[in-house]
């Protein structure tokens, strides 16, 4: 990191400062053996060519530590596709980051996992698609995944690494939510993420195939509440609710440019992974500019940071520093203006339509999945009309 540039805000003299992000999402690659139709990766994905090199990622880790980032999420795609995952992890550990491997597990070996644990990996988040193996195969379009994942979960616990099970919930697996919770306990996980699908990227394209009815969603919340009480002290729940059936938006990414920074496989530094769907944004690349400079001064990070960009109803809302107006990408997709309130909010003029389309789609027969593929034809439909 260049030491002779003034990169921090004027009121702070050190690069490591109170306004540094808490977490870094490092999307090491878009390559992945699974083809889940709700993937958060973009519809048009870059392949191996152009990915940041080992040395470039290692430099990112050093910069992250210097900036004051605390947590690293090694993600993708499938991060284990990168054969240099160990080298990148070692740099992260050296930089003092708390390291989290977000994996599908399917290409991991016990030997490799042991190596990662020895380097200093702190935590593993393992995804499951369903507890029913045939359903899991159909959702991920990958054979034998369920069996392999159970094995990986066992290795994780044998190596004394803490385990989180990540379950993305949608209309095609929501009936098995109680079984997914039991699964997490059986495999020795200490946390479960019950993540109702968030409709961006591939999930937005597959929304009609994924969106549950309000009744199914409400039932799933009751199941979680019961399980939370029953499993207190055994399993920690982290629940991502369904926007279309909510009345207030989530503080997306904990607020734009506040807590999290995302770096794509080719080095683009983003406030959130869906940000490139917004018009008129200029994103910096880590190859061109130091991370701290991008975080504090980059155009994309400044654009929706804080509250000064807000319009009504956000501008005078009591919750403006609680939910930060919700998600900019969802606001743009639904209303055509990224500075509008997230349509999840009851105060948004678009809320009724947003809710109605979920009610309608979820009661129609589910169309076939459009699987996540590198070379799948991109959906050229305007987001405004498809949301």
């Amino acid at each position: 990191m260049s030491g002779n540039r003034s990169i921090a805000p004027a009121d702070d003299t050190s690069a490591a400062c109170t306004r540094a992000p808490i977490g870094l999402l490092a999307e090491l690659t878009y390559r992945c053996p699974l083809q889940c139709p709700y993937c958060s990766n973009p519809l048009e994905m870059t392949g191996k060519a152009g990915e940041l090199s080992t040395a470039e990622w290692q430099d990112v880790m050093r910069q992250a530590g210097e900036l004051g980032i605390l947590q690293l999420h090694l993600s993708g795609g499938e991060p284990a596709v990168r054969t240099d995952l160990e080298d990148i992890l070692a740099s992260a550990v050296e930089a003092g980051l708390y390291t989290n491997l977000i994996t599908s597990g399917v290409i991991l070996t016990r030997k490799r996992l042991k190596g990662l644990a020895d380097i200093g990996l702190d935590h593993v988040q393992l995804s499951i698609q369903d507890t029913d193996p045939a359903s899991a195969e159909r959702i991920s379009n990958y054979k034998g995944g369920a069996e392999k994942k159970r094995e990986v979960a066992r290795w994780v616990r044998e190596l004394d690494l803490p385990l989180t099970i990540n379950a993305v919930v949608h209309r095609q697996n929501i009936e098995n939510l109680p079984a997914m919770i039991d699964y997490a306990v059986e495999v020795g996980a200490s946390r479960i993420e019950v993540a109702h699908t968030q409709y961006y990227a591939w999930a937005l394209r597959n929304r009609a195939a994924l969106i549950p009815t309000r009744e199914a969603f409400m039932k799933s919340m009751a199941i979680v509440e019961e399980a939370k009480q029953r499993l207190k002290g055994i399993l920690v729940f982290d629940v991502v609710v369904h926007d279309h059936y909510a009345v207030r938006p989530k503080p997306c990414m904990g607020g734009w440019g506040r807590n999290l920074v995302d770096i794509t496989p080719i080095g683009i530094v983003l406030p959130c992974h869906a940000a490139p769907t917004l018009p008129g944004m200029a994103f910096d690349n880590i190859r061109d500019r130091p991370l701290a400079d991008i975080w504090f001064n980059g155009q994309a990070f400044q654009k929706f940071r804080g509250t000064s960009w807000m319009k009504e109803p956000c501008q005078t809302c009591d919750r403006r520093e609680i939910d930060w107006g919700g998600c900019r990408c969802q606001a743009f997709a639904m209303t055509g203006d990224a500075a509008n309130a997230d349509p999840t909010c009851v105060l948004s003029s678009w809320h009724a339509d947003f809710k109605a389309l979920a009610e309608k789609e979820s009661h129609e027969p589910a169309p076939p999945f459009i699987y996540r593929r590198m070379n799948a034809p991109a959906n050229k439909t305007h987001a405004t009309s498809s949301v």
């Binding site: 808490i22 900036l67 690494l161 989180t164 207190k232």
Partner: protein, 109 residues
């Protein structure tokens, strides 16, 4: 499925000898000038009292011993401290960031 699980909720008593699990890290955050607890996909922001408790929770001292030490240091009534400390440790245990040394002390020596 209730009752078939191998694990049980940790219930903190005066005899418990609490400690942070190996994957939970209590650390001073230089950038933000505060103590933090690093946990899977979570960062906790303990107050001064919690930090004092956590630094004593080494898996050897019992809750009773921790309470006695704090009562001495802070010149506060033992009963009051005990209530606060036990509630805090139970809360942390339920969040998965606190465990207790279940082995008998003599087995460790």
């Amino acid at each position: 499925m209730a009752g078939t699980f191998v694990r049980e909720r940790l219930l903190i008593t005066s005899d418990s000898r609490p400690l942070l699990p190996s994957h939970i890290k209590l650390r001073y955050d230089n950038a933000r000038r505060r103590w933090i607890i690093l946990a899977p996909e979570r960062v906790f922001d303990p107050d001064d009292t919690a930090v004092a408790v956590l630094r004593l929770a080494d898996g050897q001292r019992s809750v009773a011993a921790i309470v006695a030490a704090l009562a001495r240091d802070y010149e506060a009534p033992v009963d009051e401290i005990r209530t606060d400390v036990m509630a805090m440790l139970q809360d942390l245990a339920d969040k998965g960031v606190m465990t207790a040394n279940l082995e008998q002390r003599h087995e460790r020596q």
